[in-house]
Amino acid sequence: MAGHLISLMIALPFFGAILQALLPPVGGKNSSGSVTRWAALLSSLAASLCGIVLVGSMRQQVPDFQVSETFAWIGSYAISYDVAIDGLNALLVLLISIVFPLLIAAESNRKSGLRGIQALLLVLQASLMGAVCAQDLFLIFFFWTLSSLPIFFMIGIWGGEGREKAAIQTMITSAIGNAFLFAALILIYYSIDPHTFSLRELAGGKLAGKTFQILESEFSVSNVAFAFFGIGLAFRIPIWPIHGWFTQVAREAPPSAFVALGAVTVPVGMYIFVRTTYTLFPETVAQMAHTVAMIGAVNLVMGGICAVAQRGLTMLLAFVCLGEVGALLIGIGSLSSAGVVGSIFQALVLGLGVAGFGLFAGIISDRTGKTVFKDEDGKVAIGGIASQAPMIAVVAGVMIASLLGIPGFGGFVGRSLLMIGSFSVHPVVVLFGGLAFLLATYYLFGMYRTVFFGKAVSEKSSDFMDLTAWEKAYLVPLVVSLVLLGLYPKFLIELVRPTALTLLSTIK
């Protein structure tokens, strides 16, 4: 039954999306949107409920898959529909389950194209959930590639002035990344006899020692496939310097699309990197750990430096996200249980924090018509909101506190674990990372002071409405989650730790 629940969790949003397309517009000018609105929200909530039940029913201290469902899909090519949940992906399931209903709720007041954007969000929810739960490489690739389509349409149709360029750029970057991933898949598939895409069958160093030849030169399958996986995922996760598409999306995409990308797709991409590389290429991971940590440090520092220069909320968020990806990579490269657990936990917290920040940026954009809080010449463009809207100030304050890693919030737990796991292994990397964390106090506080304190600088700032009941309904769960994760993280950490230890034992 639990196995079917996974499939239900993946399928329900798909059905919801189809329903959006099939539902006729209901008569009556006041009710035309409400049926589609509620249909989308309920589909998403139903899927989320499945996810929360699955994660909630998991036992701690169990490293293996606790729920799974498998059947042959394209049997002649050993492609199976294999989905399962263990400690490593449980937190990502939770993240997707929490964030997507909130995104759909946030979009529910859209005047035009409501059904379209809701359908796309549902498809995205389903595809990301599938990518997270899949244990077959082909299935992972299928869902991961599928997830790039909704983003393309959301940006291209509902984005800003440069939406077409941003959408095409995103699509091209995704396509390049997916091409590398596909090449890795094929390489792995043909390196093993009998051929298989199953992660479970490929686990345990089965690819160790396998080589292939090109023009009389021999290459290691592990090393090349690891590189292809890394490059392929780097085109979908913002890795400096190939992150230009990400900042373009931040500028042009509607808030829900950017949040879906930054808060969910990026953590899912990191998870796929950990799952595949740790499972398939343990020796290569051991050799490349320091490089991964270095890339992370560069990301963290560059993200921090570029964030200092930002004057817009979404661009600032984009670079914060870029920096946090670096932090996750440092944890992954530490090859310690605290570091890996910290990365997975921080991915969850990052997703929640980015979601909250992105949504409140969207609210500010709706109310004031802009997301730029300072003009190029340093003049304040949005200010004094706290006196008009104290609830928004509190929500934003909690998000920023978590992103800064202040004790008592989820970000502190993840960041502490990352540093505990990495300091003794890569002390210089962690010190550089620490500098970037300290720099974050400057630009995040600077933004908070400019936007929320001081005098209102425009009519729209001085007349700023506080959170409505609907907005509170979708922001408060994020705040509560971040506080709970900060105060009692043990339940979730105990889900991840045994699986992380098992994966690390194959590397060491």
Binding site: K165, Q169, I172, W240, P241, I242, H243, G244, W245, T247, Q248, M302, I305, C306, A307, V308, A309, Q310, A338, V341, L404, G405, I406, P407, G408, F412, V413, R415, S416, L417, M419, I420, G421, S422, F423, S424, P427, V430, G434, F437, L438, L439, T441, Y442, F445, Y448, R449, F453, G454, P489, K490, I493, E494, R497
Partner: protein, 635 residues
């Protein structure tokens, strides 16, 4: 598994935690909803502090009667307790923690009484009091640094709330600097755990590995704590202007958070000493103290004076800890906190009016207790520190200079207040809380001596020394010659400080104002935190410029313009090249095919004409005839 041992009085660490948590909750409630409650929620805060007061008193009484050993209550927070690199939280029910918690509650309650008597309630201040008290209690009762950091954070939150309404520059700068310091301490603590250095101070204190990484991490931890105490260069916030009352400006943002931050330093002192990092930090603390005091001397704002004084005294306390151990440090900390708290209470309630006895008396008492006059716990702390430093002449000299300057600064504040013309209202509820707080800083209460070390050891002993009981160790017994040297240094510095303060401030003309006017550049540098603020601003502008350049050249130019252009050009050119090649091949194939078909077609066309047919027939016939002839001839 959780370790718990129930005490004789049935007050357990869990109950202490609950009492502290109740105070935190009411503080939080007061912060968000205080304005909507009757009398801005003063009654709620009072009720919220009572449980902590009760459990602390009961537990403390047990300790005084010698009934209990320290009782730890430990839980794994991030990862299980038995995991090697787990992050633990817990409560340590011991005399030091209980004493500090009790003192914080008493201070909070006295403040409430004084504030209620004044009649102008302010919800954020009441909330700040509760948060400050709970933060200090939590920090001192914590068993590991993590819960102590949360305590510091709670106290800082209270300070931030008290500053609400101030210019956004001031309070966000305050928050920024505190968060920066907190993150630095977290980095240090995480680094220590990463290297295997335990942080449970009831059992791990002798077991830190001897590694350079341990020293580095410990250095970050201590640096973060010192920045929490607003040491140079993070004392820039103090120079920001404010029209808040003294308690909103000094008591809640400075006293409580610093007091909470001290907890980790004191608890970890034995292992930090083994790493060898305390000595350099001790010197740094003294330098910071001198810098703070110099910046404070040119201030004409009374509150800034006292704020800088507090920073410099904390520097002396840290130096005391680093060079001489926790006993003098705690004595100086308690003396300074109580003196400043008493000052804030009576200064905030002072108004223009007729002169009265209490104004001068309380002002003098502040000056006396803050300077280390005989009978104060501050005297005990300073004498103990000087006595233990006598073997290091450089340390003794610098220490004496610090004492001179800090005494000068606090007495400058006293004279500034007396010259302001404001008078303390002679009402019991306004005067007594301040008076009692000041008296609470007496040496007989804390050090068990009447004079606090102004007389040779043993001559004025009055029994129980709370400080020794709390921290272990006996009071210093100096040799006669050392005692004489310490006495000369101490009283000489104090006397010189008072004279200097009187000469510059106590007379009609404020000479420091004249000094500032004569050296405007120097004054400006001091108000900009010794130009450190300008340096940081330039540094951040530099980072901003680098960020903009990176963003422009990498994101905008390379990825959003050049790469698409390059890709488009490459694809276009490749496409047109292939298209042309394809067209050429097609044309070539076409013409080859055309030629291949045209030639035989023309030939067959020619063959179809009548004459050609006869020519062909004759040609073929002749050829055959010749062939047959030759074949016959040869056969």
């Amino acid at each position: 598994m959780v370790e718990t041992v129930t005490s004789v009085s049935q007050i357990s660490p869990q109950m202490l935690f609950l009492g502290t948590f109740a105070a935190f909750l009411v503080g939080l409630a007061g912060m968000f909803w205080g304005r909507r409650l009757p009398r801005e929620g003063d009654w709620l805060i009072g009720l919220g502090l009572l449980p902590l007061l009760l459990v602390a008193i009961l537990s403390w009484m047990d300790y005084l009667q010698g009934n209990l050993q320290p009782v730890p209550w430990l839980r794994g927070w991030i990862a299980p307790r038995v995991e090697q690199r787990a992050v633990h939280v817990g409560i340590l029910q011991d005399f030091a923690g209980l004493t500090m918690a009790l003192l914080a509650v008493v201070m909070g309650l006295f403040y409430l009484i004084n504030r209620v008597a004044r009649g102008n309630p302010r919800g954020s201040d009441f909330a700040a009091a509760a948060l400050g008290v709970s933060g200090v209690a939590l920090a001192w009762m914590a068993l590991t640094p993590w819960l102590a950091y949360i305590g510091v954070g709670i106290a800082t939150l209270g300070g931030f709330g008290a500053l609400a309404g101030q210019s956004s520059d001031g309070n966000t700068r305050y928050a920024k600097e505190r968060i920066f310091a907190l993150l630095l301490t977290s980095l240090g603590a995480a680094g220590l755990i990463s290297t295997g250095a335990g942080l449970i101070w009831s059992k791990d204190l002798a077991q830190w590995p001897d590694l350079p990484l341990v020293q580095t991490a410990a250095g970050f931890l201590v640096a973060g704590i010192l920045f929490q105490l607003q040491f140079f260069p993070l004392m820039g916030w103090v120079s920001s202007d404010s029209d808040h009352s003294s308690e909103s400006r000094i008591l809640f943002p400075q006293v409580f958070p610093a007091w909470a931050a001290f907890a980790t330093l004191v608890r970890l002192e034995p292992v930090l000493r083994n790493t060898g990092i305390l000595v350099p930090f001790g010197w740094f603390a003294l330098v910071s103290a001198i810098l703070a005091v110099i910046a404070g001397l040119v201030q004409t704002d009374l509150k800034k004076n006292v704020a800088y004084w507090l920073i410099s005294v904390h520097g002396i306390a840290v130096a005391g800890l680093c060079f001489s151990g926790p006993l003098p440090a705690i004595a100086i900390l308690i003396g300074s906190c109580l003196a400043v708290a008493g000052f804030c209470l009576f200064e905030s309630s002072a108004k223009p009016g007729e002169k009265n006895f209490w104004t001068g008396f309380l002002a003098f008492l502040v000056g006396a207790f803050a300077s280390g006059f005989p009978g104060s716990v501050m005297c005990f702390g300073l004498m103990t520190w000087l006595g233990k430093s006598l073997s290091n002449s450089a340390l003794t000299s610098v220490g004496a200079i610090c004492i001179f300057f800090t005494v000068a600064l606090i007495w400058r504040a006293v004279w500034l207040f007396l010259k302001s013309g404001r008078q303390v209202q002679p009402q019991a509820l306004l005067v007594m809380p301040a008076f009692l707080l000041l008296i609470l800083g007496s040496a007989w209460f804390w050090a068990g001596t009447l004079t606090g070390g102004a007389l040779p050891a043993g001559t004025d002993a009055m029994g129980l020394s709370l400080l020794s009981r709390a921290l272990g160790g006996e009071s210093l017994v100096m040799r006669d010659e050392d005692f004489a040297a310490a006495t000369w240094l101490m009283w000489g510095s104090v006397a010189m400080g008072i004279l200097f303060a009187y000469w510059t401030t106590g007379r009609e003309q404020d000479r420091m104002v004249g000094f500032s006017a004569k050296f405007p550049g120097f004054n400006k540098a001091l108000s900009e935190n010794y130009s450190f603020d300008r340096f940081v601003e330039k540094l951040l502008n530099g980072v901003d410029w680098v960020g903009r350049q990176l963003h422009h050249w990498v994101d905008t130019e390379t990825w959003n313009k050049q790469m698409p252009r390059l890709l488009t050009t490459v694809i276009d050119k490749t496409g047109s090249m292939f298209s042309k090649a394809s067209e050429g091949i097609a044309n070539t194939l076409g013409s080859t095919l055309k030629h291949g078909v045209e030639t035989p077609a023309k030939f067959f066309q020619i063959v179809q004409s009548g004459d050609m047919q006869w020519y062909l027939f004759l040609m073929i016939g002749s050829g055959v005839a010749i062939l047959v002839h030759f074949l016959r001839f040869h056969s």
